[in-house]
Structures are given as C-alpha cells and as structure tokens.
C-alpha cells in the first residue's frame, strides 16, 4: 500500500467493490498560534483528523524526514494532506513543499500552501513545485471544504485505477498487489499520474495560453 493512500479496498473474489472512506489525517503547519487554532477547527469541523505543528522543521520531524530515525515512531497515523503557511521563520512553506516533493516516501502527499499575500509569482512558484492548491488567508470554511473534496476525489480516482487493475488481474487469475497500475480503459479521463503532477501540467497548459 503506497504512503498517502486513503482508501483500503477489500477485494472479495467475484464480489462487489465497496469503499468506506476513512477520515483524512491532515498535518497543519503554521507559526501563528491564532491561525493554528483556526485551521485546526476548520479541518475538524470538516471531519478531518488534525495534527498541528508550529514550524517547517517540526513538520519534517513529525514525518521523520529530518534524518532522525527514531522520530518516525511519533507518527501514529499516515498523513493524507499537508496544509502549510508560506511565511514562517526558518523553513518557509515553500522550503517544506520542496523537501516533501524531493522525498520518495512523501512526494505523493498533497501539499496546500496558505498565505496572507496574494503575490502571483509566489503562487506560480508553489504550483510549479507541485503544490496542490494555494489558499489566501484568512482561510474560510468554503476553502477547506473545497480542498477536502479535491483530495478525496483524487484519492478515489487513484484507488479506482488501482482497484480496476487488480480486479482485471483477479479475473485473469493473476493477482498482482502492486499499486503501480497503468491501464484503465474504462475511464479515459482518469490518468494514472499523481494529483500534484496533474496540477502542474494543468498550470503549464494555462500559462501557455498567455
């Protein structure tokens, strides 16, 4: 099971595939105590599990990306989404984003950047680096709901792709538990590329229009 996958699919032989979506576990990163309180509530009210940290360094520590082997034991739940402030002392949200996308273990986790400043070059920079979305502060409930839907939809598509492939292999009597499936002819709109890259290619399409 790849890190970041939300859905656990039970595949009974010849039976129907049913999905019960568990809660998203979100890691929220912000150096402002006020904003941490608000984002935590916004996420909880949107039925997410939330862990808040006050810096990029602590976020890396929590994920076990800071080189400390023991630290990854702190994490009891897989992280499905990272929401981070952009302007933080030390590691900025952008630095954190880069570190996550550079990591083979965590690059599939969607990262959303929050910022109080509506700077186009900043937004472009983050999207180019693979951010899923960019939220303007102050963050509203509608923003969080939208992000959640986006993430859940992406997870569902990825699960559908891998489950269709597994189902096909089951039928062919060749069970392959690898999740790196490729062919899905049933739904041509589902591309088997990570959501962040999809965002990136959409962005490139947009910028080529100018």
């Amino acid at each position: 099971m790849a890190v970041g996958e939300v859905m656990r699919m039970e595949i009974p032989a010849g039976g129907d595939l049913t999905v019960t979506p568990p809660e998203l576990h979100v890691l929220a990163v912000d150096d402002s105590i006020v904003d941490r309180k608000v984002i935590e509530r916004l996420l909880r009210i949107s039925a997410c599990k939330v862990t808040t940290v006050d810096s990029g360094a602590r976020a890396l520590q929590y994920l076990g990306l800071d080189g400390n082997k023991g630290a990854s034991d702190l994490k009891d739940l897989k992280v499905n989404l990272i929401v981070t402030d952009y302007s933080m002392p030390g590691l900025t949200g952008y630095d954190l984003l880069k570190k996550i996308k550079e990591s083979s273990t965590f690059r599939e986790i969607p990262v959303v950047i929050m910022s109080s400043e509506n700077i186009l070059t900043r937004i472009e920079q983050c999207l180019k680096e693979g951010a899923e979305d960019f939220l303007l502060k102050p963050v509203k409930l509608a923003d969080v709901k939208r992000i959640k839907q986006l993430i859940m939809r992406n997870e569902a598509e990825e699960c559908k792709t891998s489950s269709l492939s597994n189902k096909r292999k089951l039928v062919e009597g060749n069970i392959d538990t690898s999740s790196s499936s490729s062919s899905s002819h049933d739904d041509s709109s589902v591309e088997d590329i990570p959501s962040s890259k999809r965002m990136k290619s959409e962005f490139e399409n947009l910028s080529s229009l100018h």
Binding site: D31, S32, I33, V34, D35, K37, V38, R41, L42, I45, S87, P89, S116, K137, P138, K140, L141
Partner: protein
C-alpha cells in the same frame, strides 16, 4: 433585563462593531465554527489573539525604542500581527498594520512610531469592544439563554 432584551442588545452591539468597521466578515466565519460541541471557540481564539498581540506589541515597542532600529526585526512582528488580526476579523487593526508595514519598508522611524501608536489604539479599541461582547454573551448564558448566531442582514 429580560432574555429577549439581552439578546437584542447583543445583536445591536455586534452590528455596531461591523458598521464601525472594527470587525469584518472573518469574525462571522469564526462564529460559524462555534457550536454546542465547541461553545467557546470564538472567545478561545480571541483570547489567544489578545495574548499573542500583547507580546508582539511589547516586542515592537522595545525594537523601535532602540538607538539603532533593526527593521529586519520589526517587520516580521508587524506581519504577524497583521496576520492574526486578519484571522479574527479585527479589520482596523489589520489595516493599521498594513500602513505601519509600508513605513517599515521605507525605514521611516518617525512614521513607524506614529503608526505603532495607531495600531495600539485600534487594538485596545477592538479588545475593549470584544470583551464587552463576551460579557453580554455570558449574561445571556447565565440567564439560561442561548447565543443566537448574528445575522448581518446588510
């Protein structure tokens, strides 16, 4: 005073804060996040804001009183205060921070001193008004009433 009158007082008082521009719609967003499971959410966030802001304003005063002002230290404080005031809907504090920040960028010490005072004034104003608002709410709850969500209607 009867409950109905108290609730009307609270609505009118809240409305005045919006009309005077002391609070903006972000405050309403926070109120929407409050419910029976989290009945004190707004006052909790606002209390954090007060504690955080007291600290920041103190640091700002110290930084600006130095012989040689280090604007690299001043700016992040103003940025933080701007952010947190925006997050709770303290519009006038936020707006004052924006102007303050511009003068920081220009390294205009005199204007910075002036605008620190302006920011403090706006902060004490919103602090005073919100403390009154929470007192009104407490009176209602103490009398067995419930806090009705504020409907702007404008």
């Amino acid at each position: 005073m009867g409950l109905v009158k108290m609730q009307k007082s609270l609505q009118d008082y809240t409305k005045s804060l919006f009309l005077e521009g002391i609070l903006d719609s972000q405050f309403l967003q926070l109120q929407q996040l409050q419910d029976e499971s989290n009945p004190d959410f707004v006052s909790q966030v606002v209390t954090l804001f007060f504690q955080d802001s007291d600290r920041i304003l103190n640091d700002l005063s110290l930084s600006l009183d130095q012989q040689v002002v280090d604007f690299k230290k001043v700016d992040p404080h103003v940025h933080q205060l701007k952010g947190s005031s925006s997050s709770i809907g303290a519009q006038r504090v936020k707006n004052a921070c924006v102007v303050f920040r511009n003068f920081c960028e220009q390294q205009n010490i005199e204007a910075c001193h002036r605008w620190l005072q302006q920011v403090k004034q706006e902060y004490y104003l919103v602090k005073n008004r919100l403390e009154t608002l929470f007192k009104l709410e407490q009176q209602i709850v103490a009398s067995g009433g419930m806090i009705v969500a504020f409907e702007p209607g404008f």
